[in-house]
């Protein structure tokens, strides 16, 4: 399939954001008429690479990048995304950038409309030109035909099914005559299976006309079915650049997630459990961006249960739904007793705790003292730190008890602060996270949901947070459900790990399972295929 010369060369590209390396010496070529599948986990550096290609402002603002980019052998330096477009790069985004009130035609030729000058042009310039509607339509139809799909040029974007929107975006990119390189970022994420199939066929057609395509997707099957070559990024490194021959899903999956961390294995200590602490049956949660469709699982008493999966697949929706923070339905039983959904106070009163993934938004009272942050939930739910006055007529905050409670956890979790009266916003991310944990520990939950506990905190603090969870589980027998995008973390601390994909549980694995199996589940490959592969 690989024919012709190198269309785009990425040579030794490195990029760091304030010392945090996200791309490290990445080099690969894209040839004419080639489809290149670019795969990697969240945070592997795919998006940053695309930002560099299009010289998005964010790259220049954070100090540029090292290495060079060549198009047809000549090095290019784009000043802005517009230069990249002029040089023949086209990009189809995951989120649609279309104008809903415009028709297909108008969207396809937007800002490149064929125009006829009028007399007013002499005074007001180009803005007063007249659009040539029939020419516009002609061009749109040409682009649509090139795609080989059935799109109505006069339909409003707002009335289209999602699949058509995706095709409109692609048509817009190929209407640009100079477009020779097309980059698609998760183009099939919003499509149904049959729509995705049509899209893949279209891409093959475009490639056969000599356009080079970079196809970014986490659906590995799709990548395997259309790519000529596969490039795998992991933690900013290019780990594999191989023609798509004789490789299977399992290989790609393990390249994608396969990391070995020294010492990680010691933590495995398989335990077995009998009693069930939490039954979840047919749970759905309407959490924007993290929709849970139909999830059923059991959590044993005393275990650490991990929930993993890629961003946006619904793993965060599970704890948020059970704790009543987003509209949810289905059946949840805690120790056999039904948990009323959509009622945070009841969920807490029944003995469940929650450490939110949105630390600054939901987890903390940034403008209040540490005492308030730690004691507040316990005060509201268990009437802790409250003094009864005048024979129970009214209550008063017991500030001394609040301080003591806070001191206890500052010592226990080694929270770095100048005093317990310090405001939460003044602490570092890692210490803020510990405050969130302390808040949840303070209500003495039987079952604790911890959502993304290590997001946005540095490596040292990560370890402390995980250790705190580990000890809390061992010392008090608290059941912990930990949701995280970091598979290594889940594998280092959990007894069992469920992987969520498209709002459903794709499978539950022991932490000792082969990494490729986790990769397969995350990539939307069904269980059976994983077994057969």
């Amino acid at each position: 399939m690989i024919n012709g010369s190198s269309l785009l060369s990425i040579e030794h590209v490195s990029k760091d954001f304030y010392g945090n390396i996200v791309l490290h010496d990445v080099s690969f070529d894209l040839h004419e008429g080639e489809i290149l599948g670019l795969v990697g986990e969240n945070g592997a550096g795919k998006t940053t690479l695309m930002h560099i290609l299009f010289s998005m402002p964010v790259i220049a603002e954070t100090g540029g990048f090292q290495g060079s980019i060549k198009i047809e052998g000549t090095e290019v330096h784009f000043e802005s995304p517009f230069d990249a477009l002029d040089a023949g790069l086209g990009m189809v985004h995951q989120e649609f950038s279309l104008i809903p009130g415009f028709t297909t035609t108008e969207n396809i030729v937007l800002n490149r409309e064929p125009m006829r000058p009028t007399v007013l042009n002499d005074v007001f310039g180009d803005r007063m030109s007249v659009l040539l509607r029939d020419k516009m339509r002609e061009r749109a139809e040409k682009a649509i035909n090139k795609l080989g799909v059935n799109l109505d040029p006069d339909m409003l974007v707002s009335e289209m099914p999602v699949g058509h929107k995706q095709f409109t975006e692609i048509a817009r990119e190929i209407d640009r005559e100079q477009t020779r390189i097309l980059i698609l970022d998760e183009p099939t994420a919003v499509l149904t299976e049959s729509e995705a199939e049509v899209l893949l066929q279209t891409l093959k057609r475009l490639a056969s006309e000599g356009i080079g395509i970079i196809f970014i997707s986490h659906r590995l099957q799709e990548v395997l079915s259309i790519a000529d070559r596969i490039v795998v990024l992991r933690d900013g490194h290019l780990v594999k650049d191989t023609p798509n021959q004789n490789i299977n899903l399992r290989d790609v999956a393990s390249w994608m997630v396969g990391r070995t961390i020294a010492g990680e294995e010691d933590r495995y200590q398989l335990r077995s459990f009998v009693d069930i602490a939490l039954n979840v049956r047919n749970l759905w949660v309407d959490m924007p961006g993290e929709t849970v469709r139909d999830v059923s699982f059991d959590v044993h008493k005393g275990e650490i249960f991990g929930i993993g999966g890629l961003a946006g697949q619904g793993k965060l929706g599970i704890p948020n739904g059970i704790m009543g923070l987003f509209p949810a339905g289905g059946e949840v039983l805690l120790d056999g007793k039904p948990v009323p959904l959509n009622n945070p106070a009841m969920a807490l009163a029944m003995g469940m705790g929650f450490v939110s993934e949105d630390r600054r938004g939901v987890g903390l009272l940034l403008d209040e003292s540490l005492e308030w942050n730690i004691a507040f939930t316990a005060l509201q739910i268990h009437n802790q730190c409250l003094k009864r006055m005048l024979a129970g007529l009214f209550t008063q905050r017991d500030e001394k008890a609040m301080e003591e409670l806070c001191q206890e956890y500052v010592k226990l979790l080694d929270i770095k602060c100048t005093s317990t009266k310090q405001k939460a916003k003044e602490l570092s991310g890692g210490n803020q996270q510990k405050i969130c944990l302390a808040k949840a520990f303070a209500i003495k939950p039987q079952l604790l949901f911890v959502s993304e506990p290590t997001r946005g905190i540095d490596v040292g603090a990560k370890k402390l947070v995980l250790d705190a969870l580990h000890h809390y589980n061992r010392d008090f027998g608290t059941t912990i459900v930990m949701v995280s995008s970091e598979l290594i973390e889940l594998r280092s601390i959990c007894d069992r790990i469920a992987i969520v994909d498209e709002g459903r549980i794709a499978g539950i694995l022991p932490p000792t399972a082969d990494i490729s199996e986790f990769g397969l589940l995350m990539s939307g490959a069904a269980m059976e295929e994983a077994v057969n592969a």
């Binding site: 704790m323 945070p344 929650f354 403008d367 005060l379 509201q380 008063q396 916003k425």
Partner: protein, 347 residues
Amino acid sequence: MRNIKTFIQDFGWPRIIIFLFLVGLFIMAPFVQVRLDASISDVLNRFGQNAIMVLAMVPMIQSGCGLNFGLALGLVSGLLGATLSLQLELHGMIGFLSAIVLAMPFSILFGWIYGKLLNRVKGEEMTIAMYVGFSFIMFMCIMWLVLPYDNPTMVWGYAGKGLRTTISVENYWLHVLNNFLAIKIGEFFIFPTGLLLFVALFAFFMWVFLRTKTGTAMTAVGSNPDFARASGVDVDKMRTISVIVSTFLGAVGIIVYEQSFGFIQLYTAPNAMVFPAVAAILIGGASINKASMVNVVVGTILFQGLLTMTPSVINSLLHTDMSEVIRIIVSNGMILYALTRKMKVSK
């Protein structure tokens, strides 16, 4: 030096400037033949008159509903209570207290409806509140004419129905608080003990209330509603409670004001009471989601001090009436200043 710097930062430049200006006015007063003792007595009196209306701002600020620009609902409840107590011919302390008790059901009802409304417009509370206040005052302009009051001291003489714009409480409960345990020193200085005690009592109630479980929850709602919800607090309920408490305090505030001022002012008069109360608490150093008793006391003294001293001192100095102009500049300027600082609240 460092201490002075942090003090200035905490206290804020606007407050310091107003404070220095006020001190300047007091220093100038004797030179323009304005008696200092009478002035101080005046300031104390006006502080007592207005403090509870300023205090009414606290619960809504704490619960994150912003400044209560709809305080007029509370004021109208107070006016209803006051007029009803006159209608029932209740005199003295009984009359004053019954006015408060009679105002209570109205303030709870109005506050509840107003709270429900504000829960539907989260983020835009202050704008909506202002229009609720304006339109409710206009609605009451009709009601004051229509309601079947018939006490001759209250209704228009020629028609025998419809309430007058100003009603004297002289024969009912004028100065019941001001004269309670009042200390008179010399010819011009009166210390309004009862009035200040009453204010202190309400400030204490508020302090206690904010430290109860409910009050704590309310403060958390104002600080971060998502946090409060995740901790099992019913955010909308807390907000509604804060609005009801605020409305009730508005009612008490206007009744206290009337017993000291001597008149019940109806129709569009409540319009003139809302902005000074908002400005006072802001001068006191409250932000739009944090307020304390100190803010109330400091703010009311500064604002009312300014209002008392500028007419007497500046007018004697310039021989022209500048007081109203200064009042408007200070109160609206202060509100403007506080609203532009809105962004400084961390989220």
